[in-house]
């Protein structure tokens, strides 16, 4: 009984093998996959477009575009910084001392003495007052040390000389 069962199983296996092999043989070369209608008609055009697109727009690649944008930004920033620096230079250094003196001489009526003193360097101020060439750093420290002169610091002789220079005669100022 067992033997006949084994034989039956073998027959079934062989039949299965035959069916599977037969199925594989029959299906060989057949395709159940499909494509959209007219797909292969437009295939060549798509490939040609891709080839010519790749040729034309290498410079439009995202990496290239990012690199160019970055470089443009850097150039703009550098230009702005340079421009600002040169503007400052104009304000600070563009006028020479002679030009400033010439300007103040021309507009002397409109500019008060205090304005002129404000814009003059301390060293220039002393130089203009007849102290010769003076080191500006020393002058600064000296100025900081100096106490403003008061009326009590001026002697009677000095007052007398000043009054004579101003055209007052001896004794005139007793009536002032």
């Amino acid at each position: 009984m067992k033997g006949s069962n084994k034989k039956d199983d073998q027959v079934v296996d062989q039949t299965d093998d035959y069916v599977v092999s037969d199925f594989l043989k029959q299906s060989s070369g057949q395709s159940e996959f499909k494509t959209p209608d007219g797909y292969f008609d437009g295939f060549q055009k798509n490939v040609q477009d891709k080839i010519h697109h790749d040729k034309k727009v290498w410079w439009q690649l995202p990496q290239i575009r990012v690199a160019f944008s970055g470089m443009a930004c850097i150039i703009v920033i550098v230009a702005i910084v340079n421009n600002m620096a040169s503007t400052n230079e104009v304000v600070q250094y563009d006028f020479s001392k002679d030009e400033l003196i010439a300007y103040f001489s021309d507009n002397i009526d409109e500019i008060s003495e205090n304005d002129i003193i404000d814009v003059m360097l301390d060293a220039d101020l002393l130089e203009a007052q007849g102290f010769g060439e003076v080191d500006s750093t020393k002058v600064k420290s000296k100025i900081n040390e100096e106490v403003p002169t008061s009326l009590y610091d001026i002697s009677d002789e000095e007052i007398y000389e000043y009054m004579l220079d101003e055209g007052y005669e001896d004794g005139d100022w007793d009536n002032l």
Binding site: D16, D17, L24, K34, T35, Y39, F40, F43, Q44, N46
Partner: protein
């Protein structure tokens, strides 16, 4: 007119007829290339992209084709490499194991609107998808594309003996899968 590979190569080598030659090449091989790719990656959209990319690569490398191998084996080699690269990228991108990629391809197949196979054919496709990539490629080229072992050996740059062994194993696995279910 049936253009031989030699005629097509001659046209491509001539600067005046290079475009025409390349169109002839595409006309002759576009379908074969597409089907080899389609059976590997299953879905139409990916197959379309890879097939187009294959021909773009063929165009870019035409000057490197020295005629040492046959034109169609050279084109098939580019196509199969592109298909295998696509599958590897997919695995890496989605962190898929071999089993997961099989399942993913099976799901794609079942949902593919451009697949019209009946239940038995679908089962056969599922059986094929259980094969390792290289074995699947060999089986498809032999079974569906009906290439000779010698031609497949040229494309994949392996010996005919190892190909026959791989194909035999593939058929046995598929038969087993079909009988089991």
């Amino acid at each position: 007119m049936n253009w031989t590979d030699e005629d097509i190569i001659d046209k491509i080598k001539d600067n005046k007829t290079v475009d025409y030659g390349f169109n002839l090449l595409m006309e002759k091989y576009q379908e074969k290339v597409y089907w080899v790719i389609r059976r590997m990656v299953i879905d139409h959209e990916s197959s379309d992209d890879i097939a187009q990319e294959t021909f773009v690569k063929v165009w870019k490398n035409l000057d490197k084709f020295k005629g040492e191998s046959k034109l169609y084996t050279w084109i098939y080699r580019i196509a199969t490499n592109e298909a295998l690269t696509h599958l590897r990228k997919k695995k890496r991108r989605f962190f898929l194991s071999i089993g997961d990629i099989e399942n993913e391809l099976m799901s794609t197949l079942e949902a593919d609107i451009y697949y019209s196979g009946d239940v038995i054919q679908l089962k056969l496709q599922k059986a094929i998808l259980t094969l390792p990539e290289k074995q699947r490629l060999v089986f498809n080229m032999k079974y569906f594309e009906e290439l000779k072992f010698r031609e497949i050996a040229e494309v994949l740059e392996v010996t005919v003996g190892s190909l026959k062994a791989q194909y035999h194993h593939a058929v046995k696995k598929i038969e087993k899968y079909l009988k089991e279910d």
